[in-house]
């Protein structure tokens, strides 16, 4: 059965000269060899990254199971009070990474040893935290093509997008995505994150990353963040401390959450280098006033408010700012 059986004859065979000319022109349209090569490389990189992720996932699971078993055997009587986990602690029940040179769990401690929440401790450094040593400030240059943070200094998060659902955005929230090839490149950089969206009407849309999904992150060894960006309009660059993140998402905030510490930057059509120091970050004011604490970070986000939508921006070479 063919298309002709449905009373349709293809215009490329039966159409007039102009129809055939237009259709032929489209058929002869082919992408460049360079694009083909770039796509191959990108798929290979993505495949390698996925394999690494699966391997790491398996190792992490094994380590967690072993840690739980060891804790059960070694500390059955030491936990004399009910398990109590500080809201600041985003750690899993046992593993800590402080002092771990390679990012893996080092020693097991009972979760009950985390300090109980109190008015004072809520604003103290979270514990246990994944600690940046200050040797490798790069957060992500996106050259691997994927959206997972390079495993440097216990960073293990993943970039994601979300929005207020009043309009569409790309990449779509909840769907896997990847870094995009920069049209024309940017020096030696070939890939960057590209975020676009239509007109939002509530609170806007975000491109966000959590430094370490299982721990709060201590980046006090650094002075701030830096990155390259281009686009149009303004975006808010926010560094989230766990105290403004709701409990639902692993923070300790219970009321008027997500009043993040941020600065607003104006983008232009060309890539520009932006430096944001911790001291420049301020809250909007709708939530509880929280002192910015680089010992207790959750993540980083590039937020677009409704009055700046529709939007279209690129972000590249995101890194901490060394002293």
């Amino acid at each position: 059965m063919t298309g002709e059986d449905f009373n349709f004859r293809r215009l490329s065979k039966t159409g007039n000269e102009l129809e055939q000319e237009l259709i032929d022109s489209a058929r002869e349209d082919v992408p460049s060899a360079a694009l083909r090569q770039a796509a191959f490389e990108r798929l290979l990189a993505d495949d390698r990254a996925r394999r690494r992720r699966y391997l790491k996932g398996g190792l992490t699971l094994s380590a967690t199971v072993l840690g739980l078993a060891a804790a059960f055997v070694l500390f059955p009587r030491r936990v004399t009070r009910p398990m109590q986990v500080s809201p600041e602690s985003r750690a899993s029940t046992l593993a800590v990474t402080r002092g771990s040179p390679d990012g893996g769990p080092l020693e097991g401690i009972p979760a009950g040893s985390a300090p109980p929440p109190s008015a004072e401790s809520r604003f103290a450094a979270c514990s246990p935290a994944a600690v940046a040593e200050g040797r490798s400030p790069l957060i992500d240059d996106f050259e691997d093509g994927n959206t997972h943070l390079p495993m440097i200094e216990h960073r293990a998060g993943e970039w994601l997008t979300y929005g207020d659902a009043t309009a569409k955005q790309a990449p779509m929230p909840g769907s896997p995505f990847m870094a995009m090839r920069i049209p024309g490149g940017r020096g030696e950089s070939r890939y960057a994150l590209h975020h676009t969206g239509e007109k939002f009407t509530k609170w806007g849309a975000n491109l966000s990353v959590t430094f370490n999904p299982r721990h709060c992150y201590d980046a006090s060894v650094y002075d701030g963040i830096q990155f390259w960006a281009r686009g149009h309009g303004q975006i808010r660059v926010a560094v989230k401390v766990t105290q403004v993140v709701s409990e639902e998402f692993g923070g300790s905030c219970t009321n008027n959450c997500f009043d993040t510490h941020a600065v607003t930057i104006k983008l232009s059509r060309e890539f520009e280098h932006f430096v944001v120091r911790w001291s420049e970050l301020t809250q909007t004011g709708f939530g509880e006033a929280v002192k910015f604490n680089p010992h207790s970070l959750d993540g980083l986000e590039f937020a677009v408010r409704p009055d700046q939508t529709p939007f279209d921006f690129w972000v590249d070479d995101v890194s901490f700012l060394a002293h």
């Binding site: 102009l18 022109s25 002869e28 569409k168 090839r181 590209h194 239509e198």
Partner: protein, 166 residues
């Protein structure tokens, strides 16, 4: 991937993406395909890729604010080697005109038209690819062809008028 690369890229271009977006979109389509390899039936790769391309193009088209600085389509290396400058100019103009017509169609009609007329898929294949009843594909194709042919008639008239004036 090699076998279908041009097909995916070309489909995305005709589905309304400009060059950089079609480049990124092509990679996105193949990324989806590699992640769902186990779901793609042998012999149905082309259908899967086209369906994915339609979704990717739709998402990008709706989400991306059209860049004002849209660049002129540059001829590929292959084309430069194969064709002289006059032929390249003709093809470029024809593509531009075709794109103008396709952009005037609704998304539903356009994807059916591209699949049938440009990529030579059959009506049942298109119906399966886009998970539509065959009757719906036929009616969309009929409407798309009607629009295409009336646009061609207008274009023909414009060309004739231009020739007469010159």
């Amino acid at each position: 991937m090699e076998a279908h690369f041009d097909f995916v890229w070309r489909s995305l271009r005709r589905l309304g993406l400009n060059d950089p977006d079609a480049d990124d979109g092509t990679q996105e389509v193949f990324l989806v395909a590699t992640r769902k390899l186990d779901q793609i039936l042998f012999g149905c790769e082309r259908r899967f890729l086209f369906a994915t391309a339609v979704r990717v193009a739709s998402t990008r088209r709706r989400s991306l604010r059209r860049r004002h600085e849209e660049q002129l389509t540059l001829a590929s290396e292959h084309e430069c080697q194969q064709n002289g400058p006059e032929r390249l100019a003709e093809m470029s103009r024809a593509r531009h005109e075709l794109q103008g017509i396709l952009d005037g169609m609704s998304d539903d009609q356009r994807s059916v038209f591209i699949a049938f007329e440009l990529e030579e898929m059959t009506v049942p294949e298109i119906a399966e690819t886009l998970t539509l009843p065959i009757g719906t594909v036929s009616s969309r194709l009929r409407a798309a062809r009607g629009y295409f042919q009336s646009a061609i008639a207008r274009l023909q008239a414009q060309r004739t008028f231009a020739q007469v004036r010159s």
